[in-house]
Amino acid sequence: MLKSGFLATSTFRLALLYAVFFGASVMALLGLFYWSADRALDRQTSLAVDSEIQALQDRWRDAGLGGLTEAIAERASHPRLGDMLYLLATREGQAVAGNITAWPERVRRENGWLLFDIERRWKTGEIERSQARARSFQLPGGILLLVGRDNRERLTLRRLMIEALAWSLAAVVALGIGGGLLLSRRVLGRIDAVARVAEEIRSGAVSSRVSLTGSGDEFDRLADTLNRMLDEIERLVASIRSVTVNIAHDLKSPLARLRGRLEMASRADAPSGERRDAIEEAIEEADGLIATFNALLSIAEAQSGRSAAEMSELDPATLVADSADLYEPLAEERGLKLQTEAAPGARVRANRQLLFQALANLIDNALKYAPPGGEIRIWAGPGADGPELGVADSGPGIPAGERERVREPFVRLDQSRSTPGSGLGLSLVDAIARLHGAELRLEDNAPGLKARLVFPQTVGADRSPGNAARGR
């Protein structure tokens, strides 16, 4: 169904269209050329005839009718006469001298010119028909003088032009169709290659790719873009698959524990205290599962961008104050120092609830990993790259090579496997950051982790000279 032939391709149609345009322009060009050449010949004829008339008049004035007759006879017999026509005739039309046998019969008049048909007889017996253009005068004494020129050249030119036109049109059409066929076959071949790859991918060969010719032409560029898109899709599919596997894996263990506990509680001989404990533990497991699903849903919601509707402008410094108010006792309980630096004045468009949840997740992480006696720093303010909100701890940090991977759901570093947590915290922070057009930057706090949420510079932010001068 894909191979419906070259004639249906847009390339072929385009080639035909070009042929038509090209043919039209050839016609226009030749037409213009013909028109101007024709006019030039016309002018030349007029000039030649007029100057001959002048010369003959002079001769007549100087040498009378005899001289004129002689001059005409001389001209008419001249071998290089060319296309000039002369006739000196009596009033009755009888030829006296010249190279025309008799006074022309069917004559058309046009702007002082006489137009008539002539026949030229060659010595070989051939007869050549053409048209002539002439002027005539009546000399005193009733003698008629006709000086003209054969239009042979113009007719030849016209014939040549028509021939040239026919040939070039034929060539254009042939080249157009041939080129169109050739071109569309080439294009169709390249497109078929892409379609084949798409078909292969559809039928399961997901790592199939369009091969490049190496010429770097537009098809190569298209194929390269497609290949890179396919790579990205394959990577995303793989990551979705790994998330799915991770979900299944991470949920299987709590479900197994839940099942075990319920089974124990359902045993007829279980003491009521043990049964109660088992049920309680089962509920705890269920709560943990619900929390995991809630976190996944929150990530999905942040990624879908649905919450963007509930954004308002706020100063991240207020979130720092709120979070310190909420977390300070807990930090103190764990022997950690909680420091805040909130420089007011930054404005971001944010969903207050979600942004606070992101901050709380970062603080939860910091609390989890900072060693006793360590320090947690929460800050906000108009940073150099844009408004900024961040949390830093003095824990083990994240190795530089892992800082991208830990944003993916369920990814937990080996050293943190033993600590409780779902591996969704940073994913949620990352998703919330993206929702706000902000960037989550994970950096080395030497020692520890420094997590910064860097927001885009707000449009219409205070750019008064005083503010600008403060910039470092």
Binding site: R276, E280, R306, D325, F356, A360, D364, L367, G425
Partner: protein, 252 residues
């Protein structure tokens, strides 16, 4: 508040499993449950019934709206996704008809925006499914309390020998002045306003800090235990009780 009829929380031993107890039917509160999922409905109906509430159940939005407009209910529990007429439209229609019965929206949609939409439509509180029954009961009681004690400017709160002066920002127990930090004062005020009721951790986070999320750490417990240090230490009897698996309660 109905005398000593509150469930015996201090001895309620498990998450969400509430011991049956009796409440005089004469002052039983009537609750309309609009919920299409039979399992959830049966569970809520039975558990609230065991706590002494009269629960009537309707399975779709249109009937729910009809019954709710007839009136006579103290509280409406409303599922958000219903056949016939969805939950948000039911609340909006009720409020448009000037029915002021408190509405607690139950929803599987738990995201920030869903909550905002639910409250904006006229709901009084919002609870995400699946929920612990203790959380539901605490919120039901808070709403019923709010209804029976209409909002009036309170300047003093007291429980046993604990007194709070909201104007002078002073707290005294047995006549002794107790120094509280501003957030401890707000926390105590919230607990005192809900004295005799279970207050869950998420209710505290919402009511005192105005944030709605599930804290993954025991961040709220630390606040409560600090407050307890100040108001209960060295005094008898303890006023701030932990209700296992549910939350906290101020009780003399």
């Amino acid at each position: 508040m109905t005398g000593g009829a509150a469930p015996d929380w201090a001895s309620a031993p498990t998450h969400g499993i509430v011991e049956a107890h009796s409440r005089p039917p004469a002052d039983a509160m009537r609750i309309l449950l609009i919920e299409d999922d039979a399992t959830t409905a049966a569970y809520v109906e039975r558990a609230l019934g065991e706590c002494g509430y009269l629960v009537e159940r309707v399975g779709d939005g249109r009937d729910g709206l009809f019954r709710a407009t007839e009136g006579g209910y103290d509280l409406i529990l409303l599922d958000r996704m219903l056949p016939g007429l969805d939950g948000l439209s039911v609340v909006a229609a009720l409020r448009a008809a000037k029915v002021q019965t408190p509405v607690l929206i139950l929803s599987a949609l738990g995201q920030v925006d869903d909550r905002v939409k639910g409250l904006r439509a006229g709901g009084d509180d919002y609870l995400t499914k699946p929920f612990a029954f203790a959380e539901l009961l605490a919120r039901v009681e808070a709403l019923l309390r709010r209804k029976s004690a209409p909002a009036q400017e309170v300047t003093r709160l007291s429980l046993g020998d604990l007194e709070m002066d909201l104007l002078r920002r002073e707290v005294r127990r047995a006549g002794r002045l107790i120094e509280l930090k501003p957030r401890e004062f707000r926390l105590l005020e919230y607990l005192m306003r809900h004295a005799g009721q279970v207050v869950t951790r998420t209710m505290l986070l919402e009511g005192v800090w105005d944030y709605h999320f599930d804290p993954q750490t025991n961040v709220i417990d630390v606040h409560v235990s600090r407050l307890r240090q100040k108001i209960d230490r060295g005094f008898e009897p303890p006023l701030l009780h932990t209700v296992r698996g549910a939350g906290y309660m101020m009780r003399a």
